[in-house]
Amino acid sequence: MRVLKHLALVIIFALVGSSVAQVNVVWWDFLGGGDGVRMKAMIDQFNAEHPDINIVGTTLEWGVPYYTRVQTAIPVGEGPDIMTYHSSRMPLGVPSGIFRPISDDELASVGLSTDDYFPAVVDAVTYDGEFMCVPLDIHSHVLYYNREILDSVGLIGDDGLPTGLDGEENFTEALRLIQAETGVLPFSISTDGGSVWRFVYSLYNQQNPGPLIDGTTVNAGEELARPVQLLADWVAEGLAPENAEYPASIALFTSGQAAMHVNGVWEVPTMVDLAASGDLFDWGAIAYPVFYDEPATWADSHCFGIPNDPRNPISGEKLDAVLTVIAWMNMNSLAWAGAGHIPAYLPVVESEEYQNLEPNATYAVLAETATFDPVSRIAGVASPLYDAIDNYIAPAMNGLLPVDQALEMFKMDLESQF
């Protein structure tokens, strides 16, 4: 009995003690991959450095499950104190009122200012002049390459980087050369909606055609058909796999069976970790070549939102803690850059350490050429747009339907969803 009593006392003191000394910050994110491991390390470091604040982190399933969860939890007062968000998914989230706007004064209280971020990202998270979500990074797509294979066919220049890949014709010729000389698969891309979208949308924007979704019109014209046709031609010629699930598309590259691979910068940790254990060839990552008129690459941004609980607004003390967390994450985002991402916070980007960080430095240009998703409630990660790519464009790529017919279905489906 006495033991139990003592135990109860200890527990009570522990609970009381911690609630007095510490502010708990409930944190929800969707970072489950290699970058999630790095984010957990950052949270641990933050907690160690801040005895007065304790981040209680939960990682939820990326995509629709995550966004459904925040959308249902916040209005009934069961949401977190900080949530990660994709700027591309905000056009659906902001009108539902789940974001608490963050004022300049509040930012200034922890030493932040909207001038500290890439202007394009600030635009992406600003709605009606109100700053809704503090950007953490810009993440984009890059071209991963096997330097040994490219070198063996003379596609590596004097600077040690791939050369001769600019222009649709040149790129296709390079793929043919790789196939003829080495016999490996030249190009690996996952045929899931997200990956195909990012590639196709990048090449779409390289033709400077204007927004893909304009109000309730989907511009599925020749500028969109061109990159889809290009992929279909590569598949038909055997230069790209007919179908590859996401993990298989990476495995094709990391096992040396494919010479090049397009994927997000978030797979940099996969390559870094494999290389560190000696299981990977000499690899590199560069920004997408310019296939058409000008450089452009799809990009998105992870940001930190403060949920808006109308019935029980966040307390001043909690808000201070939340802002402290957000500021710290930004100022320490060099660790996040190790996950391949480009920090959105300019002082970190301008720091010497970041300027020398590889492979980020090689594709640093992405921050300037980033093209964000169309601003629409049907666009953004895990949106109907991604599903429609999966549904119509990816199979068209495999030659199951002529590209123009698939695009027509794609356009009709999306326009019916406004």
Binding site: L92, T191, E242, D387, N391, Y392, L400, Q417
Partner: protein, 286 residues
Amino acid sequence: MWRDALLLVAPFTILYIIFFLYPTARVFELSFTNAPLIGEGSYVGLANYERLMNDPLFMRSVRNTMYFVLLSVIPNTAVGLILALMVVRLKRLRPPVLAAFFLPFMLPVSVVTLIWLWMVDSNYGILQYILTYFNNGRPLAVFRNPDWAMPMVALVTVWWTVGFNMLLFLAGLQGISKEYYEAASLDGATRTQVFRFITWPLLWPITALVLTLQLIAQLKIFDQVYLLTGGGPFNSTIVMLQYVYREAFQQFRGGYASAISVSLFLMIFVLSIVQFLVLRGNRRRA
């Protein structure tokens, strides 16, 4: 006496009302509003239902659901029956064989779909040794091919759930008195005759039960489609519940999603009654 009875059924009744009747009533109510996912909407009358009638994707999802039912209900029942007829003849080998057929049913759907996605992976899948034969020697991405996708989803479903039907049939077979079979063998009946005139009619109540359970279960198809194809390619596998999921949880249109749910509810209701009447008629004739 009455009070005691009420007291005893109260826990169930209360839970049933809170967690079943109330949500069901709310779905009907929401289907007449333009409610978002959370919160109240305003009353819009039959607007959601009018929109349904002119929504090609909804019609497509109804057709696909029926196609899936066609592909899964009868094969699932027939294979279950055939397996049971084979297993019932075994003696010492029965438990391990039974376990082997029943094992898939114990797996969660996510595991089942992962196993199949690996087996048919177009770059590394072991089944490609067979599938390439159907595609002129090239790998066949079954879940990305509009002709193959739905039949494959049905095949995975049968593989996954047939063990349970087999078990029901096995119980039914063991319930048939041995005397019928003895009498039949004395009369010199062939195995086909024994099956046709003894096993089949006496097993009919079980068959009818399996068919009814199957119909209801397969109309509610969602998990396998969500995990294997996402509804594509070219909408060839989008089913009703998945359309509900998309509208409600991706686009936050609670009212419209409720209207689709109500349509599915009515469909299951009507089809179950029709099937019940048909199967009951069959039994009388038998």
